[in-house]
């Protein structure tokens, strides 16, 4: 009986489909890029003079390649008050496992609907299909949209809780104190904004018609901002259960929102071609970008970082804006990327950037250097991808 079953298994395995040739070509390219450059040196036999010359040439080439790789990993150049320089684009060393940046407790990235997550506590997910994701403060937990549910996972990989939702979760924002989560669900062609406590209790609807822009929490975790269905940024106060729409017409059709994490109530609002600060009922004069599109915003060391992609595509930049005592924005420096920036996340004194590189997305962690210095970047992840960056979060 067993041998009959074994025969059937063998036959059925032989009928399995073949991989697509295109997939194989991409995989081959990735695999060849991963070959260790230094491996040959360990297995080389005793050197002749001719071989020694060859080795010296190889070492020189290797040093040049290493320098190139370092330059590629640090594919950012910083300039203060100068014209941006374009850095040469080179292939980075492979990093198919997401690395946690120095000093961080966790990092989460969703690319083309798949989640890469690594925390210092040991939780690691690679390529998990999710609809959205967010890290809790200190990266102790991760909340993901999985099917029609919001699911929270604990550090050891245990499912802490799940809450059924009426549709797919498309955006998640975890409050700085970890006690609440705001999330947006797509249902019936509309987006609804909900809030739920960090332990999965007390789910409630905040707004039945919003846009899919990721909500942001104020530093005290008592208010959150989102984009209404009509495109206006709205600040929702949980204590008073009040909604305050931002009336400044420049802020309409906002694409990114982020509260200053320092604890004040200043909210940075970005549209496709402008940024401005809103605090209470007052707004700063907007800073506009004529031929550039905003690809992300975040607060780093008290400065507002704005990622910009030019039209036509040349050197993308991250511009740093200092907030004046009057609440205005003054550019204080810029980083130049060798390739198109697809996303930006700021934490502490670092930036996490998603940069397009051929058919790959590279996730880089970079420091903000002092004036005149070069930004130091670390490659966290490189994945083949179309271009759909969802979550980009470092804690």
């Amino acid at each position: 009986v067993s041998s009959d079953t074994e025969s059937r298994l063998g036959e059925l395995f032989a009928q399995l489909p073949k991989p697509d040739a295109e997939v194989g070509d991409r995989a081959l390219a990735r695999a060849l890029d991963a070959l260790p450059l230094t491996a040959s040196r360990r297995h080389r036999p005793a050197l002749t003079i001719r071989a020694l010359v060859f080795v010296l040439a190889a070492v020189i080439a290797l040093l040049a390649a290493s320098a190139g790789a370092l330059a590629a990993v640090g594919a950012l150049h910083v300039s203060f008050g100068q014209s941006p320089h374009r850095s040469p684009q080179r292939s980075a060393s492979p990093a198919s496992q997401l690395a946690v940046p120095h000093g961080a407790r966790g990092v989460a990235v969703t690319v083309d609907g798949r989640l890469w997550l690594t925390t210092a506590s040991g939780l690691r997910l690679q390529g998990l299909p999710v609809t959205a994701a967010a890290l809790s403060p200190h990266a102790r937990y991760v909340a993901v949209g999985l099917g029609k549910a919001l699911v929270a996972m604990a550090p050891e990989g245990r499912r802490a809780w799940s809450h059924p939702t009426p549709g797919h979760v498309v955006a998640i924002g975890w409050a700085p104190n970890g006690l609440r989560i705001a999330y947006i669900v797509k249902t019936g062609g509309r987006f609804r904004l909900y809030a739920i406590e960090g332990n999965g209790d007390h789910n409630h609807l905040i707004d039945p018609t919003v846009r899919a822009t990721t909500p942001t929490w104020r530093g005290d975790s008592l208010a959150l901002a989102y984009v209404s269905g009509g495109g206006r940024p709205v600040v929702y106060d949980l204590g008073h259960r009040s909604h305050t729409a931002i009336s400044n017409p420049v802020a309409r059709d906002a694409t990114f929102l982020t509260f200053n994490p320092s604890g004040d109530d200043s909210l940075a609002v970005a549209t496709r071609h402008a940024v401005l600060l809103v605090a209470g009922n007052t707004s700063t004069k907007p800073t506009t970008f004529q031929d550039e599109t905003v690809a992300g915003i975040g607060w780093v060391d008290g400065k507002l970082a704005v990622a910009l992609n030019p039209r036509p595509p040349t050197a993308s930049t991250v511009r740093l804006f200092r907030v004046t005592t009057g609440g205005g924005l003054i550019e204080s420096g810029r980083l130049t990327a060798a390739a198109r920036i697809e996303g930006l996340d700021a934490w502490g004194s670092r930036l996490t950037l998603a940069v397009a590189s051929g058919s790959n997305i590279r996730i880089l962690s970079t420091t903000i250097p002092t004036a005149g210095a070069t930004a130091r970047s670390k490659l966290l992840l490189r994945v083949p991808a179309a271009n759909q960056i969802g979550t980009l979060a470092t804690r």
Binding site: L12, T38, A39, Q126, G147, S162
Partner: protein, 181 residues
């Protein structure tokens, strides 16, 4: 081994050359094992997209670690071990997330032919641990000893899982009415 008068290089030769930076040798190694690695991934995950990712990731890891590979050992089982473990890691993580509330359970693509579906459905009915052992044995052709080495299991455990899996599969095949032609 000779094929059409051209001597086919052994895995060991290709590995050695690849370690010296010979990209043609590495590519030959890739082409030799890519189909089987992908099929292992497809058989375990049941989904083409995941199989694409897992198999590519496994090759990337294998080539990145080539300088640490013990070339006295066969390359194929080592690679398949990486593939199988990547599948297990991924599916276990997914299972943790989906357990108890049935969200997007591990299933199979719907675009396979009837024969493929029969196998994939049958394999999907096995536990993850048994599924991997079965496909390494009958899909890749590894011996129980090689499987034990690849998965860090006692040979007895491998044999036990194989026997129980075969019994379960026999019942499944009978239930599906899978016939031999």
């Amino acid at each position: 081994m000779k094929l059409g008068g051209v001597r086919e290089r052994s895995d060991r030769d290709l590995v050695r050359a690849a370690r010296r930076g010979d990209r043609d040798a590495a590519a030959a190694l890739f082409r030799r094992y890519w189909p089987s690695a992908w099929r292992v991934a497809l058989s375990v995950t049941g989904r083409r997209a995941l199989a694409d990712d897992v198999a590519a990731d496994a090759f990337e890891r294998a080539f990145a670690a080539l300088d640490r590979f013990d070339e006295r050992r066969p390359f194929g089982p080592w690679l398949h071990r990486i593939v199988a473990n990547r599948c297990l890691d991924l599916l276990r993580a997914e299972r943790r997330l989906t357990a108890d509330h049935g969200v997007e359970p591990v299933g199979v693509d719907s675009d396979h032919r009837a024969g493929d579906r029969g196998l994939l459905d049958a394999l999907a009915g096995l536990s993850l641990e048994r599924r991997v052992v079965v496909l390494l044995r009958y899909g890749v052709g590894m011996t129980p000893k090689e499987i034990a080495g690849a998965l860090d299991l006692p040979v007895g455990t491998v044999n036990s899982r194989l026997a129980r899996s075969l019994e379960q599969l026999r019942e499944t095949f009978e239930g599906q009415g899978v016939e031999r032609h």
